[in-house]
């Protein structure tokens, strides 16, 4: 059985410039498949890393002649849901040329909207519904042995004119049981972060987030038949995370890592174990890392900040999304503005640079609310701000309401990268939201003194300045994405 994991030549978020990392979702399921079936031949074709055209992609597939191709991404940071468009297009090309290849799609959106996907994309044979790891292995086994696939849980496929959804798969409870991602299948030397971070990769060592905000994109990783699966947090141990970084450094020369967990700092004990391992093994001198976390956990761990810095942490991201406690409550964020302000201030104090994510395009947003929100972001004064437009995702609690109102339609998802406004608000058109977004980002990066403070900072790691530089250089791309159909993913 020959299985290929395909990454078409897609781009990245408009503000991220040239940004390429291994498809970590595929690395994870490939590792599990290899563990269960070492006899299968696995291959990764990362057309993005190799900058391959569609023609070259098809040529390579023709040479490899896989029985199965897997497509899909698990990280919303690769390009939001817009990557799904790119995967679907690649699947179409492959199916047209090689109809005998079975195409299996999993990850973001495929997991939560399998019916819509299969209806619109006849070239995809199977969607993995919800968490894909075990379903994928069992599906490949069934195909290899010629067994009926309907017994495989967490699957959607066509049967005649019908789309069949098999039973709910459930979640893997202990991530420590999963093998190390199969990085060896990927061209690790080809990856780069934010234009300038070389020897770069991304890891993904926990799943879910206890907050499970009702607008969150990550709902689209899960089967909506589950009981709010996003809120079920699971994580690999701190020791295993350190093992992974050690392998990445020693075997693949990785020096910069973004922990792409939805929320890396949920468990203090795990963070303590991880930073202790990093320091004990001397990995803190070899690998610099950054992560995404939640404000209340940052505040709980303020005393750990110096150790985090010592362990190699150079950048930390927190989300505020909106600007008042009332709005935060409305969104179910479970944090306060004060907590975010304190988080950013304390991280900066500890010499860890900060990224603050915020959003616009919520149901009741008008120009006044958005401009007040910007004022709050400006006052909190993170080093980098990342702005996204509310994009309801299938599977999220807000999705049914948006569909009912006719505000959102499941289309080809081409512009669903969170940098194009795709839904209006009660008071603003998509065009008006885009205009405000373009204004806000330029305003943030034009503040006198901010640029100098970050570029010439003597306390921050030089990687921070490079990331900031990339954001500044790509600002006009965000402005374009906000106001036109220009695509960067």
């Amino acid at each position: 059985m020959k299985v290929m994991f395909l990454q078409p030549n897609l781009g990245a978020w408009s503000t991220w410039g040239k940004h390429r990392a291994p498809n970590i979702g595929q690395a994870q399921i490939a590792a599990l498949l290899r563990q269960k079936h070492p006899e299968y031949a696995l291959q990764v074709l990362d057309c993005r890393a190799w900058e391959m055209s569609n023609e070259q992609m098809l040529e390579e597939i023709g040479k490899a002649r896989p029985d199965i191709i897997h497509i899909g991404d698990i990280l919303h940071t690769t390009g939001g849901a817009a990557v799904v468009y790119r995967y679907n297009q690649a699947a179409k090309l492959v199916k047209e040329k090689y109809p005998e290849i079975t195409i299996i799609a999993g990850g973001l959106v495929y997991a939560s909207a399998p019916r819509q996907i299969l209806r619109r994309n006849p070239w995809i044979d199977y969607c993995l519904v919800g968490e894909q790891d075990i379903s994928f292995v069992e599906l490949v086994e069934a195909i290899a042995s010629g067994r009926e696939v309907k017994e495989v849980k967490g699957l959607a496929f066509r049967q005649g004119k019908e789309i069949v959804l098999t039973s709910y798969r459930g979640l893997i409870k202990n991530l420590d049981e999963l093998p190390m991602p199969a990085y060896d299948l990927f061209p690790m030397e080809k990856y780069v972060g934010h234009d300038y971070w070389k020897h770069y990769t991304e890891t993904w060592n926990s799943r879910g987030c206890p907050a499970g905000c009702n607008f969150c994109y990550e709902w689209s990783q899960f089967d909506s038949r589950g009981n709010a699966d996003l809120r079920f947090f699971r994580a690999r141990s701190g020791k295993l995370v350190a093992d992974e970084l050690e392998l990445l450094h020693d075997k693949f020369g990785v020096k910069v890592v973004t922990m792409m967990d939805d929320c890396f700092n949920v468990s203090r004990q795990r963070m303590e174990e991880f930073i202790e391992e990093m320091i004990k093994r001397g990995l803190n001198k070899k690998v610099s890392w950054c992560f995404l976390g939640r404000a209340p956990y940052y505040l709980r761990d303020i005393d750990l900040f110096p150790k985090m810095k010592e362990a190699g942490c150079f950048l930390a991201l927190a989300g505020i999304e909106v600007a008042t406690d009332e709005e935060l409550k409305e969104l179910g964020k479970g944090i306060t503005v004060e907590q975010v302000e304190e988080t950013i201030a304390k991280l900066k104090e500890a010499g860890i640079a900060t990224v603050l994510t915020w959003m616009m395009g919520f149901e009741n947003d008008d120009e006044y609310r958005i401009k007040k929100r910007f004022e709050a972001v400006d006052r909190i004064d993170p080093d980098i701000c990342a702005l996204q437009y509310l994009t309801p995702m299938p599977g999220s609690p807000i999705w049914p309401k948006y569909v009912e109102r006719g505000w959102v339609k499941f289309d080809d998802l081409k512009t669903w990268d969170f940098h194009h406004p795709v839904v209006p608000t009660e008071h603003l058109s998509q065009e008006a939201i885009g205009r405000l977004g373009a204004w806000a980002l330029r305003e943030f990066y034009s503040k006198p003194g901010r640029v100098e403070r970050i570029l010439h900072n003597r306390i921050y790691h030089p990687l921070v300045g490079l990331c900031f530089r990339s954001y500044m250089e790509n600002m006009s791309r965000f402005e374009k994405a906000s106001q036109t159909d220009e695509l960067y993913v």
């Binding site: 330029r442 006198p448 640029v451 100098e452 403070r453 570029l455 010439h456 500044m472 600002m475």
Partner: protein, 246 residues
Amino acid sequence: MMQRDVHLKPKDLLEHLQFKEGDFGKIALVSGQPQRAKLCLDMLERPTKNFTFLGYTFWTGFYKGRKITVGNGGFYSPDSAFVTELLCNAGIDILVRLGSCGALRGDIGIGDFIIADKILRGDGATRYYVKDDFSPAVDKDLSDKLCKVMEKKGKVHKGDIWTTDALFRETKEIVNSYIAKGAIAVDMVTSPFVTLANLYGKKSCAVLLVSDNLITGELGFSDFKLFEAQKKMIKGVFEFVLDLDV
């Protein structure tokens, strides 16, 4: 009716600001933007604040043993005139401007450096100080030295600077007339800065960072090259002052 000849003299203001002789060094590095002054401040060891007046702040500290004063000396002609006059009265002998400008030649890029040669007065403030035919002059020796140092930091153009007061009246007619007189860049400060230095017999020079280009229409105010070049400009100017005989 007012009884005194002059309401406020620089010495009065210095006294009001509790300034003492010797608080300043002999060399002042003066920028328009406060954030640029802050970057200069970051280069100093043991800096102490001299004063803040109407948002213009000066600090004095040491760079490799040399006593240097840094601060923001104004964005426009009127404020640049009175802050420069204040500095000239406070014991500064050498005034170095770290400014920004628009280029008047198509081949000059964002982030390039301009070393001021002659100054073409298009501002209003200096009319209160000198006659219309007065031609402000930077110190040639200082300018040559500054040019040499900056050439190691980036692309340098030496030439005449036109100072204007009216950003949105840089019309084709006016701009072309100053180009015909030899100007290669336009700013809003250098004329009063050099004029006042000349009046008080102080030495002055100026390096300007190109932020936009009036010929190509390029607006580089948020361009990363600008911020990168700014860093180099500051490093260059600090290297330059180390070599001066004061």
